[in-house]
């Protein structure tokens, strides 16, 4: 997995690519924890994300919970196989996917 971070005042954009699994999810979690303070507009670009497992979903859920208190979170570029996972787990109702 690779994370590219762009931040600008209260906006934070993360470009997450590769595999978001048990091994790599803690890295994304750490990255979010370290940068999410004061962020009002969080965007995660999944255009190059190849794989997500429940460990990755847990990180997204926890980020969504944080952002519900302080602003908005948007997921972009979700491909079909990953969308399928979001649908099966009801995450399409929790996350804002555009």
């Amino acid at each position: 997995m690779n994370i590219e971070k762009k931040s600008e005042e209260k906006k934070l954009e993360l470009l997450v690519s590769g595999r978001l699994d048990t091994t790599t999810a803690p890295e994304l979690d750490a990255c979010l924890k370290e940068s999410i303070d004061g962020v009002e507009e969080l965007t995660m670009d999944f255009s190059d994300l190849e794989y997500i497992s429940s460990a990755g979903l847990r990180v997204l859920l926890s980020a969504q919970k944080t952002m519900n208190k302080q602003g908005t979170m948007t997921i972009t570029g979700v491909g079909e196989p990953i969308m399928e996972i979001f649908e099966v787990t009801g995450f399409t109702d929790i996350l804002t996917i555009v």
């Binding site: 091994t23 497992s53 519900n68 079909e80 196989p81 990953i82 787990t89 009801g90």
Partner: protein
């Protein structure tokens, strides 16, 4: 129109294509390209495919026409899907097509290994990159990835590259390798571990030599070695050259695996597991070929100049000689010096032939030191050719404990989170072999990760234990069946209540999703507890 953007880069026209080019918009795209080229032409046309998602045959025909008027045309930044289309249609044969690769830097990275074809650097705690010497290394990388996968499926522990990257002007293969130390380093820093290293080294060697490979999957060392003998016809006395070739031809064909470069720098200890790296020399053949290359690595290359062993291996010639001798003793399962020398001499015949040819080809005859070395090897070889009448020997390759033996569709490994990439690579290899659709492959991968991580986290509590993962393919209807076996505490994940997936983020619990996803995406999930084992079976119809 937005599918086509023309720019000038370094004086050459660059056409960036984006989105989809198909019969609906190919004529407009072609017109836009022509309009741009009418004003800014040059023979070195570059097509930048970075944002191109799809190209149909109508689009491909436009490219072909472009190429007719621009013979130096090349395509750059082709993504995976576009590259596949170009590859399938033969475009990659007709013109230069460069794939889009991630770029990494190795500045300041520690060198942890050096092979014939490249250098291995540690990028971070978990990952290493093998950077190839040759700038045109993509074919070599592809070859090494394929043979490493093949070996892994056949039960040989190896690191599998998961990404190809650009490093400066060359390419690299990225591997996961946690805290690895090579056997060379261990022997250099902890000489008291010699016994342990010999045992592990020989156990793995026997395992490789017990592994049968489908005919044609790997190159045949016998054929290669016949080529060496023929090369030496111009250099050795005719009678000796003829005998050398006959001795090699008399070695029976053998479809068992050989590593081909089995020395202590290519064996890595990660955690408590022994892994092979540098797999591009994998072949099949009689074990004498392997012993020949091992003899060369430890003794042959240093016979003339002992320091050469130290420079390459890290430890000195005496340690190398002792390690080689004790490994041969363990491999042949004998303490009888006469038997050991007999086998060693057979290996030396092939070993010298190989080294002499290699050195001559690299211009060794023009360098006084190299020439003296070639002459020394030749003298040894000619002496051996007088006494040896066969290069064949027999060896009992049985493992000390037979439960070590496994077939290709099953792996047993310690149930730890660190072993997840190995399980995933094992399963994905099988799925790719049967051309599993992408969506199903992803669902199966997610399910396998959930179940294996569950076992790693909970089955054995704080203790250690193993898990077995088996992959089977059923026909009619076509289905993949994956079985997980562990001997941990009895636990039925199927019985776990499903989470309520209609709740809002605030009400949702962090856990419980994994098993739910497995149940949702698999066609059957079956659990039983039998003879002290948890047996969980997943079935996915394709």
């Amino acid at each position: 129109m937005k599918e086509v953007t023309g720019t000038i880069r370094d004086g050459s026209p660059v056409i960036a294509l984006s989105g989809r080019i198909d019969s609906g918009n190919a004529p407009q795209a072609e017109a836009a390209i022509q309009a741009f080229l009418a004003e800014h032409d040059g023979s070195d046309l570059v097509i930048d495919a970075e944002d191109l998602e799809y190209i149909s045959s109508a689009g491909l025909r436009v490219l072909l026409r472009m190429r007719k008027s621009h013979s130096g045309m090349r395509i750059i930044n082709a993504g995976t899907e576009v590259y596949e289309i170009l590859d399938m249609t033969g475009f990659t044969q007709m013109m230069t097509v460069e794939r889009a690769y991630r770029v990494i830097s190795i500045e300041g990275c520690e060198v942890i290994g050096q092979g014939a074809n490249g250098t291995i650097y540690r990028i971070d705690g978990d990952n290493v990159v093998k950077v190839y010497n040759n700038a045109e290394a993509l074919d070599e990388i592809q070859h090494e990835r394929e043979v490493a996968r093949l070996a892994l499926v056949l039960g040989i522990p190896t690191a599998i590259s998961y990404d190809v990257v650009r490093v400066g002007d060359s390419y690299g293969s990225v591997f996961e390798l946690l805290d690895a130390r090579s056997f060379s380093l261990i022997l250099e820093e902890q000489p008291e571990k010699m016994d342990w290293c010999v045992k592990e080294y020989v156990d793995l060697l026997k395992k490789i030599h017990r592994t049968e490979v489908r005919r044609g999957d790997l190159p045949d060392m016998r054929e290669t070695a016949i080529g060496w003998a023929q090369y030496l016809k111009d250099y050795l006395p005719a009678e000796a050259a003829e005998k050398l070739e006959k001795l090699i031809r008399d070695i029976p064909e053998d479809q068992h695996m050989l590593h081909g470069d089995y020395h202590t720098k290519n064996i890595q200890l990660t955690g408590d597991e022994v892994l092979l790296i540098d797999m591009d020399t994998l072949a099949v053949g009689h074990p004498v070929f392997e012993l020949a290359s091992m003899y060369n690595a430890f003794i042959g290359f240093g016979e003339f100049d002992h320091d050469r062993v130290t420079r390459f291996m890290g430890f000195d010639y005496k340690v190398a000689a002792e390690f080689w001798h004790r490994s041969l003793e363990a491999y042949l399962n004998t303490g009888d010096e006469a038997t050991i020398t007999q086998v060693e001499n057979k290996a030396r015949v092939i070993g010298y032939a190989r080294m002499i040819r290699r050195s001559i080809r690299r211009g060794g005859m023009d360098d006084p030191d190299k020439k003296a070395e070639i002459e020394m090897w030749t003298k040894e070889l000619l002496g051996l050719l007088e006494t040896e009448d066969s290069l064949v020997f027999t060896v009992n390759l049985d493992a000390e404990n037979d439960d070590d033996e496994k077939d290709g569709s099953e792996i047993e490994l310690e149930a730890t989170r660190d072993n997840l990439p190995k399980v995933m690579a094992f399963v994905e290899e099988h799925l790719q072999q049967i051309n599993c659709p992408m969506k199903a492959e992803m669902q199966i991968a997610v399910a396998v990760e959930e179940i294996f991580i569950n076992i790693a986290n909970y089955a054995y509590g704080p203790d250690k234990g193993n898990a077995t993962v088996r992959v089977e393919v059923q026909e009619d209807p076509v289905a993949v069946v994956i079985t997980f076996i562990d001997q941990g505490v009895p636990y039925d994940p199927v019985a776990k209540a499903d989470p309520d997936v209609t709740l809002s983020a605030e009400e949702r619990e962090i856990g419980g999703l994994g098993i739910f996803m497995v149940k949702q995406t698999m066609d059957d999930v079956h659990y039983e507890y039998q003879d002290g084992k948890n047996i969980l079976t997943l079935k996915k119809e394709l």
